[in-house]
């Protein structure tokens, strides 16, 4: 095929391909069919679940993808679209959602909507009337209205939410003890009630007053076959957003912090989450409880990531230089051995080191420190050293690999020229090898910095952030880096949860890494000018 032919083929104007579909087109059609089918499924289920945001985003994505692949324009997008779609769904969405949570007080005690808080208040308030017997019960219906029929002292009584229980003449009690036939009412079979979620919801919500006197309480059923008297003293005023306790006379008003608070300062247990503006961001810096430990954590995060990159880069480079020397025998075997720590999963190595660093039972003290009782993981400073050491062990093979590759690609002529000019080994390393090496490795160092800035695994597996800083909230410890401190604050592992603050901190970390990486990449361009 000549060059022109190939170009024509690419444009699809080669005679022969226009008449029928090419195989490529069929494949594309199939792939797009699957993509569209998947997209439509998501849209349909989003429609059913009434999540309009997901639906809107999915429609936009699907239309965009179809436009990109079925028009002749936008060639670069044809390559980028899948990546962009995944970026949008998995990155931007998460980021956007984290950003949203950062501006709320979502956490312990504020985890649902206001309506759910009201529901919870009613659940917590509604008490079984003392000594109420359990009445055999049947769910009944009259002209579209649900009611209960119960057997009280041998007689059948029926009623609805608005009509208190009244005796029904000539009703029959079935073998189970519950009313089986209630004249004037349609009896709903229990199986029917249990298998219809919509009906269940109505039955569970139904309260039938026992008599005209509200003091007697109302019949409610939990499982559809027995009715028990319950009474509730709460009243919900949706307009005024107040819950009134008729027994104590307290009026709980919805405040702008997502809680129901009464005038005497008492509040209901369950709240809901509300937007709190920049409060979480401000709190991270100003709340005395968080500010001091978080400052310490931030400094250690920087120290940890910078020192890790420096030490592992240094050691990796040293080994790379040594094993690049042709005088060393069995280089291949040795190189393989030195790369081994890189081949093990990091969390396993970290756990292993945790055991080895145990001051009483670990081999490190036994073998290298004459059985001395050095508490590697219990002392704030030693624990930091231990983390740096283990992370060095884990990450130098990476730099060893990278530097070996970079060294082998250095031009032999330049080095030869330097040698001829009389430069010694150290001078050659400093003036030729290192600068040339940095051109290719500096961007990787920045990436490594960003990675270690969020290196949750090693901290969590080795020390869990401990030993804890005395007085720090959420068990924040002296080896915690920002990401593990955020994990502790989020309350995912237990304790009190504060997702709002944790999200705000995540965003700060994101911005910090972004800015540092941007500045650093800008700096590395200067290195490239050497070439």
């Amino acid at each position: 095929m000549t060059i022109t032919e190939r170009a024509e083929a690419r444009r699809g104007s080669r005679p022969g391909t226009t008449r029928g579909f090419s195989w490529g087109f069929v494949v594309k059609l199939l792939l797009m069919a699957i993509v569209n089918a998947f997209g439509l499924t998501v849209i349909l289920s989003a429609y059913r679940a009434e999540s309009w945001l997901v639906l809107g985003i999915m429609v936009a994505l699907l239309v965009a993808v179809d436009v990109v692949y079925f028009t002749k324009r936008a060639l670069p997008l044809k390559y980028l679209a899948p990546g962009l779609a995944f970026l949008f769904v998995f990155q931007l969405f998460t980021l956007g959602y984290t950003g949203y949570v950062a501006f709320t007080n979502y956490g312990s005690g504020h985890s649902g909507s206001m309506q759910q808080a009201v529901d919870a208040a009613f659940i917590q308030d509604e008490q079984r009337v003392p000594d109420s017997p359990a009445y055999p019960l049947t769910v009944v219906e009259r002209s579209g209205e649900l009611g209960f029929a119960v057997v009280v002292d041998g007689e059948v009584r029926a009623g609805t939410a608005l009509e208190p229980l009244a005796e029904v003449a000539d009703a029959e009690v079935g073998s189970s003890g519950a009313p089986a036939e209630v004249p004037g009412w349609t009896v709903l079979e229990r199986a029917q009630v249990l298998t219809d979620p919509a009906l269940q919801e109505q039955v569970v919500a139904l309260r039938v007053p026992f008599s005209e006197d509200p003091e007697d309480g109302s019949i409610r059923t939990r499982e559809g076959s027995t009715g028990v008297l319950y009474s509730s003293s709460l009243q919900w005023d949706e307009e005024a957003r107040t819950l009134t306790d008729t027994e104590t006379g307290l009026v709980y008003t919805a405040d702008d912090r997502g809680s129901f608070v009464a005038d005497d300062g008492s509040r209901l247990a369950t709240g809901w989450y509300v937007g709190v503006g920049f409060e979480n961001f401000v709190r991270a810096f100003t709340d005395a409880k968080f500010a001091a430990p978080l400052l310490q954590v931030t400094l250690w995060t920087f120290a940890f990531s910078i020192l890790t990159v420096l030490t592992s880069f240094g050691l990796g480079l040293l080994f790379a230089l040594i094993f690049n020397d042709p005088r060393i025998r069995a280089r291949k075997v040795l190189r393989t051995l030195f790369i081994l720590p890189y081949a093990f999963p990091a969390f396993m190595s970290a756990l292993l080191w945790r055991g080895m660093l145990n001051s009483e039972f670990g081999v490190v003290n036994d073998l290298f420190f004459f059985g001395a009782d050095i508490n590697w993981l219990g002392d704030p400073l030693l624990a930091k050293l231990a983390i740096l050491w283990v992370n060095l062990w884990l990450s130098y093979p990476y730099w060893f690999l990278v530097c070996t590759g970079a060294l082998q690609s250095l031009s032999g002529e330049t080095l030869e020229a330097a040698k001829v000019d009389g430069a010694g080994p150290f001078r050659r390393f400093r003036s030729i090898i290192l600068p040339l090496l940095l051109v290719s490795t500096a961007p990787l160092a920045i990436a490594s910095f960003a990675f270690n800035f969020n290196n949750f695994t090693i901290i969590y597996m080795l020390t869990e952030g401990g030993p804890s800083i005395p007085g720090a909230p959420n068990g924040i410890g002296s080896t915690d880096i920002l990401i593990s401190a955020i994990y502790a604050i989020s309350g995912v592992a237990g304790g009190t949860a504060d997702y709002g603050l944790a999200s705000a901190l995540s965003i700060i970390v994101f911005v910090v890494i972004g800015v540092i990486s941007a500045i650093a990449f800008r700096q590395t361009r200067k290195l490239e000018e050497i070439q």
């Binding site: 226009t18 059609l29 797009m32 069919a33 699957i34 569209n36 089918a37 439509l40 499924t41 179809d66 079925f70 312990s108 005690g109 985890s111 649902g112 759910q116 529901d119 919870a120 208040a121 659940i123 008490q127 079984r128 359990a134 199986a191 009630v193 249990l194 298998t195 219809d196 979620p197 269940q200 919801e201 569970v204 939990r222 499982e223 559809g224 076959s225 028990v228 247990a269 369950t270 409880k289 945790r354 145990n358 039972f361 508490n375 993981l377 219990g378 401990g466 030993p467 804890s468 005395p470 909230p473 959420n474 068990g475 309350g491 995912v492 592992a493 237990g494 304790g495 009190t496 949860a497």
Partner: protein, 405 residues
């Protein structure tokens, strides 16, 4: 022309793929009577619940879906997902989550009716919050003194000193191993010893419910802190932060430690030694009262199938057969009274039962969530040699500060 053809083909193909997918889902959804009960469980309880669920499915025509999760993840996932409507109808859980679950508004009350009489009162109390029952209890658990009968016999030591003496006399490498979860600290395991100094975590009122007043400050607390210090790295060294759960079990199982304080869950790790289980000895003069934990089934406040879920809990799980199946799947002390009496013939279960009778329910008030981190850390520091009174009192001050918010 080609474009139109392409679009037509695309629509056709999409339609085909879509119908084949929806045909599948149609079959899944249409099989049962329409109602589906979703239950979250951990791996240990899954087989037992499955047995009860199958019987229930047959009788009610509903579908029961079991979702298996890590026990530690259940609380958090339940709190996060119930408000979104994605949560289960029922979840397995521990009673000390109750305060947090109530504050989050994710649990519904339940009414056991007459079945309540069949359960141990302490288990019902544990799941009661503000006078309301929130879960169906099914098992109790607590830590107890586990001893190596070959080294120290099966007789229960009355005091810490007596136990240490026997342990030392036995010639074992260390008289006792107590898990401190490494450097994290484990106030849970240590609590029995702490209460023997009269320093409860929260003060209990006359009815036995916990108030939010911290009870471990003052002289009793300082005495306990002093005792920790004496037995820590600066003193006898019987307590050490080098011991985590695995090391603890290894030390005991290999006979290097004569005693340990552990729960029933660890017994299976002691295959190589003969063990006896006794109440925890007193270190401070008063009765050692370890935390008693109760496990049970919580009902979601946002359940779409509340009737069905209640029916399953009250009329199926609250029966002796189901409770027995749960016990056999994961042997813990049953909360079902008749079953508890029956399994007490097993000396190990009887030992844990005896320990639990000395015990107090772990507080389920939401304040408890704030306590652990401070508490564990202070104990670790004191065991590692920090000034006992100073560290302990600082911890009490910080705790009061955190609770006041």
């Amino acid at each position: 022309m080609r474009k139109q053809l392409g679009i037509a083909a695309l629509v056709l193909a999409s339609g085909l793929v879509l119908t084949s997918c929806s045909a599948d889902s149609g079959e899944e959804g249409g099989g049962g009577g329409g109602a589906e009960l979703v239950i979250w469980t951990d791996a240990e309880r899954e087989p037992a619940i499955r047995a009860a669920a199958e019987a229930f499915e047959e009788e009610s025509g509903a579908t029961v879906t079991l979702v298996q999760k890590n026990f530690e993840d259940l609380r958090n996932d339940f709190t996060a997902q119930v408000p979104t409507g994605e949560g289960p109808d029922i979840t397995v859980g521990a009673h000390d989550w109750l305060g947090a679950l109530v504050t989050a508004g994710v649990v519904d009350t339940i009414d056991l009716g007459d079945a309540a009489e069949q359960f141990e009162q302490v288990s019902l109390d544990a799941f009661t919050y503000d006078g309301q029952l929130y879960a169906l209890p099914y098992s109790l658990e607590t830590v107890a003194l586990v001893q190596n009968t070959a080294l120290v016999g099966s007789e229960a030591p009355a005091t810490w000193d007596e136990m240490i003496q026997r342990g030392v006399d036995s010639g074992a490498e260390r008289p006792i191993a107590i898990n401190t979860a490494g450097e994290t600290g484990d106030a849970y395991t240590m609590y029995g010893l702490q209460t023997s100094f009269g320093a409860p975590v929260f003060v209990q009122d006359e009815s036995g419910s916990y108030t939010n007043e911290v009870g471990m400050g003052g002289q009793p607390g300082e005495a306990f802190a002093g005792w920790l210090h004496e037995n820590g790295s600066a003193g006898t060294g019987y307590l050490s932060t080098t011991i985590d759960y695995d090391i603890n079990n290894e030390l005991f199982n290999s006979g290097q430690a004569a005693y340990t304080i552990q729960g029933p869950w660890a017994i299976s790790s002691y295959a190589d030694v003969d063990v006896a289980v006794n109440p925890i000895p007193s270190a401070g003069g008063e009765t050692a009262a370890p935390f008693v934990g109760v496990q049970g089934f919580y009902l979601s406040s946002q359940s779409d199938n509340a009737l069905l879920a209640n029916e399953f809990l009250v009329n199926y799980l609250a029966t002796e057969d189901s409770q027995r199946a749960l016990y056999e799947a994961d042997p813990r002390i049953p909360a079902y009274s008749s079953l508890a009496a029956e399994v007490a013939s097993d000396p190990i279960i009887a030992g844990f039962l005896a320990s639990s009778q000395n015990g107090v329910p772990m507080p389920s008030i939401p304040e408890m969530g704030s306590v652990w981190d401070f508490w564990n850390a202070a104990e670790t520091q004191i065991i590692n040699g920090a000034d006992p009174s100073g560290t302990w009192n600082a911890m009490i001050t910080e705790l009061d500060g955190a609770l006041a918010e």
